[in-house]
């Protein structure tokens, strides 16, 4: 799980071109959007696309479920795991 967490963190940094932030700065359980890492709604769009491409997962149309999956690095990791059958 640690490897996957770090993989997700690196993807966040790379795909959103975040300056001044390294893997160590991202708290696995903290909120990615708003308070926490401070990502915005456009980041959400771009991250969704990047996650879909890199991990080949299907994002649901139900936006409440999607929001829950994208809450933190930890929730993203378990979402990705759950789709790996």
């Amino acid at each position: 799980m640690t490897t996957l967490n770090n993989e997700i963190k690196q993807l966040i940094i790379d795909c959103l071109d975040l300056e001044d932030i390294s893997i160590e700065d991202i708290d696995t359980n903290a909120a990615l959007f708003g308070e926490g890492l401070g990502l915005d709604s456009i980041d959400a769009l771009e991250l969704g696309l990047a996650i879909k491409k890199q991990f080949d997962v299907k994002i649901e149309a139900n936006s409440d479920a999607t929001k829950a999956h994208f809450y933190s690095v930890a929730s993203l990791a378990s979402f990705i795991e759950s789709q790996r059958v």
Binding site: D17, L18, E19, D20, I21, D25, G34, G38, D40, S41, I42, A44, L45, E46, G48, L49, K52, I59, E60, A61, N62, S63, T66
Partner: protein, 456 residues
């Protein structure tokens, strides 16, 4: 098609009109009438005149809006409900009509789907209210823009006249908020007046859009460059089985590339609307080729200012429809109905369609206790974003040395969040000893940009 909105507001929806829908519920005419009548009675009983209106769900928002206008109230529309935005508008409103109590110690009428009021007729009104919207003026202060029903009616009637032929039996979905003029007109007022149901939620993910496209035959998509430029990537640039009947884009320039990519996925080029909160819609176009000229709406007359080349308009959507209004964009005039846009003449920029006064952001930066001076500049890569160049106080420099750059960035960002939306915050931060100036003591944009491009 004259007075489309005015007549609708006076008569209310017909019994067959479906107001709105989402994936588990619909708002039929009778329920909407009951909601509006219920809110109307409460508003009527209150002496307060100026009501702040805010709601996430568009059906609640529409009910509050109609009730307020019918009760002759002045509706104050904040761009968002962030604490800083609301407190800046503090002296502009007396009471709150919203889905959550956005500020304390004011009369508050809640908007809620939990309440099921008894069946009632559409309220009769002898005096319709008006709307106040806000936009960032170049001084940095939010500027109030008044919209009477006559102005909004002129605009809605023109939209229907111009585009109705392309919209047979459509429902309307939107990726933009109804709290701004574009969403207000295209997602709420126009659909209500023209009997087109709208989606009560705001679409955030491409997957949600595809879901509604799959279940509904005719959809009109109200969107913006922020969404439309990213949508083709999410759709893997593939031609889609289901596509919207019509796509609108407004809020900022849509790149030719994005327009072409959308065409590849949806077999049609979006219709772009050019305008502003003050002016309403000015012109529209479909980018079949790069730098396609803009076509003015029929009630708009244009000319070019001789001194700085600025676009000047006369429009039925303006309060004074017989005076020339000078816009902040310079243009190239092609003929009496067509022009191409050149550039902005003030220090207002758009970040993801949010209008930002760089002057206001610099002022707010300078008010932070760790900051001495600040300059903000626009970068275009990897996306349209702001960068901030900040000189720090001794305390700020000490903090930078001990806690690092990220900690300082975050402290200052938090401060900016009191007045700016997160999407608009600077994504590049530089803390030099001095802000670059030329020999005349002026800040040169290209110097600021090259400092921001250079990695620390």
């Amino acid at each position: 098609m004259d007075n489309l909105l005015l007549n609708w507001l006076k008569q209310g929806p017909n019994t067959q009109q479906l107001i709105s829908f989402n994936h588990h519920d619909i708002m039929p005419s009778n329920r909407f009438c009951a909601q509006v009548a219920y809110l109307y009675q409460q508003l009527h009983a209150q002496p307060a005149q100026r009501w702040l209106l805010a709601a996430k769900q568009s059906d609640l928002f529409a009910a509050g809006l109609c009730a307020g206008l019918l009760a002759g109230k002045t509706i104050i529309l904040p761009a968002n409900t962030q604490a800083g935005t609301i407190s800046e508008l503090n002296h502009q409103f007396d009471a709150v009509l919203a889905d959550e109590p956005v500020c304390e110690v004011r009369t508050f009428i809640p908007l809620s789907t939990e309440i099921t009021p008894p069946a009632a007729k559409w309220p009769k009104s002898d005096h319709l209210g008006e709307l106040i919207l806000f936009t960032s003026g170049s001084s940095g202060e939010p500027k109030a823009v008044r919209k009477t029903i006559a102005q909004l009616d002129a605009e809605v009637s023109t939209l229907e006249r111009t585009f109705a032929e392309q919209l047979p039996h459509c429902s309307v979905v939107s990726t933009v908020s109804h709290q701004h003029i574009y969403g207000l007109l295209f997602k709420i007022l126009w659909p209500l007046a023209a009997n087109r149901p709208f989606l009560s939620e705001q679409i955030e993910y491409p997957e949600t859009l595809s879901y509604y496209l799959a279940i509904m035959p005719n959809l009109c998509l109200i969107s913006s460059p922020a969404q439309l430029s990213r949508l083709p990537g999410a759709l893997e640039n593939q031609l889609q089985h289901r596509h919207p009947s019509l796509i609108f884009s407004s809020g900022g320039p849509l790149s030719f590339q994005a327009a072409t990519d959308i065409e590849q996925c949806y077999r049609q080029v979006p219709i772009e609307i050019f305008g502003s909160t003050e002016t309403g819609g000015i012109a529209y176009r479909r980018q079949h080729k790069a730098n396609e000229p803009w076509q003015v709406f029929s009630p708009v007359t244009i000319k070019q200012a001789p001194d700085d080349g600025a676009l000047c308009i006369q429009s039925a959507y303006l309060e004074q429809d017989n005076q020339w209004h000078k816009c902040d964009d310079s243009i190239e005039l092609i003929n009496a109905q067509q022009f191409t846009l050149l550039n902005r003449l003030d220090r207002i920029v758009k970040v993801e369609e949010k209008r930002i006064s760089m002057v206001q952001m610099e002022q707010l930066l300078r008010s932070h206790p760790l900051v001495v001076d600040a300059a903000v500049a626009m970068l275009t890569k990897p996306r349209q974003m702001l960068g901030a160049i900040v000189t720090l106080t001794d305390e700020g420099k000490a903090l930078l040395a001990t806690e690092g750059k990220l900690a300082v960035n975050n402290r200052i960002k938090k401060h900016l969040l009191s007045q700016f939306e997160r999407v608009t915050l600077p994504r590049r931060w530089r803390y030099p000893d001095a802000i670059p100036q030329n020999s005349e003591g002026k800040r040169v944009q290209s110097d600021l940009i090259s400092l921001l491009k250079k990695h620390d």
